[in-house]
Amino acid sequence: MRQFILLIRRYWNIILFLLLQGICFSMISKSHTMQGNDIVNSSNSISGYVYKKQNDVVYYFQLKRLNDSLLNENARLRNLIAGNSNIDTFRDAIATIPVTAKDTVITTTKDSTGAIKITSTGVTKVVRYASYYYIPARVINNSIANDKQNSITINRGSADGVGKEMAVVTGNGIVGRVENVSEHYATIVSVLSDRKTAAKLSDGTGPYFPIWDGNSPDYLITEKVPSYVKIKRGDSIYTIGSSFYPENILIGTIAKIDTIKASGTKTLKVRLSTNFRKLQYVYVVKNKLSEERNKLEAKSTEKTK
């Protein structure tokens, strides 16, 4: 026993070092799961408070830039108002967006030479109306220089109706997904992380999966697009309805197309429409039907296990 205690005393520093490293690694592995680390993140009240105080100061220096972005946002909303006149855009807004599906009707006809000709026509139908609730929030902390996972802290939390796994968008495009929530703050894993986003082209082809490659905060990379898909520079890509973002939100425009002949695919470089360097206001999107959907999906994944 005495020998053992002497041994521990002799190597105490190395033991402590290895112990602390072990704690660090368990924290790192926890923070990379979907649930997130509940203690060490900036949605807790102390760091949230510090960031809030800083933002209150810095806010005044950014008013000019903010004005511009709000003017653009206003112009966009005024265009929308023409269509939906009963949405109150000065408060938290409820938007009812039709969820559509295409019915494909295939008809076969024989022409005069006897060859069979197959034509398919698509009829777009409204399946149901999804209700989204937009909660405006101010960005109080923002990072873009991390390699695997960048996060944003906002000044709204569970008291304002923000919950885990909600989509976050701006007037220009997508931002990310809510990861951790405290009472008055929430952290968001931004699109600038190693998680894919489902996307489609404006004519509905897809899904493709743009992902951030860790370099520039202005671009996403989409690999494995079949080379027969007709794309040109400047085309826009949008979110698809079956992901957790609302449908038809702009992700970005295609800046560069590389065709890889060996595999017969194209690699697209997508310029994000959201400027992550100057993020000021975001909207947390609360889907009223998402809880029901998640419950159902959890049930079916349980069965397959």
């Binding site: 105490w12 520093n13 402590l16 070092f17 602390l20 490293q21 704690i23 660090c24 690694f25 368990s26 924290m27 790192i28 926890k30 923070s31 990379h32 680390n37 203690i39 060490v40 993140n41 900036s42 807790n44 102390i46 760091s47 510090v50 960031y51 800083q54 902390n141 923002n142 990072s143 873009i144 220089a145 991390n146 390699d147 695997k148 996972q149 996060s151 802290t153 952290t187 860790g214 370099n215 520039s216 905060p217 360097r277 100057k278």
Partner: protein
């Protein structure tokens, strides 16, 4: 001011400088010119560098862990800064013993800084330990050696900027560097 109080103040000051000023640098366009990835300089390891010579190793480790976890909380990196900072704290004694002519417990109440060591030894000491910290942190963050050139660039630009900020901090907050020159 007692040595405990001074270090506690320095802890808070360095966390605030790191979180409120240096983390925001990456948001500007000039931090990613011509394809170089955006980067953040890290100044918070300076807290470990400036603790007194005679600090026992276990306290260095615990202090490094506390500092790392605090920075992790603000930056949402969940333990990476803590791991890097603990390794740096562990390496500090070895580096100091090899740089200095005397044994460490012979410097009674002194701390390693520009005034006690001089510019060249202090910056060498800071550069070695910051290199250890940065390499370990970026290995943890990028997790893998596939893109070793990319990691090298990121470590290098981050390290150079960190060292510039360490020098600036020493110029600003060492109250009497100039006395060395007055004595001559």
């Amino acid at each position: 001011m007692s040595v405990y109080l001074r270090n506690a103040f320095r802890f808070i000051l360095l966390v605030l400088i790191q979180v409120l000023l240096l983390n925001k640098i990456s948001l500007f366009w000039w931090t990613s010119p011509g394809g170089i990835p955006p980067y953040v300089p890290y100044i918070y390891p300076l807290f470990i560098l400036l603790l007194p010579f005679a600090t026992p190793v276990w306290f260095l480790l615990v202090a490094g862990f506390m500092m790392g976890v605090t920075v992790d909380t603000f930056m949402n990196t969940g333990g990476m800064h803590a791991a890097a900072c603990v390794l740096m704290a562990f390496a500090r004694t070895i580096v100091l013993e090899s740089l200095l002519p005397k044994r460490l417990d012979e410097f009674k109440t002194m701390s390693p800084n520009v005034k006690s060591m001089g510019w060249t030894p202090f910056m060498t000491y800071a550069a070695i330990l910051l290199t250890v910290h940065h390499i370990y942190f970026f290995v943890l963050e990028i997790w893998g050696f596939q893109s070793i050139g990319y990691m090298f660039i990121k470590v290098l630009i981050s390290l150079i900027t960190s060292l510039i900020f360490v020098a600036l901090y020493s110029l600003l907050f060492s109250s009497s560097i100039n006395t060395i020159y007055y004595d001559k």
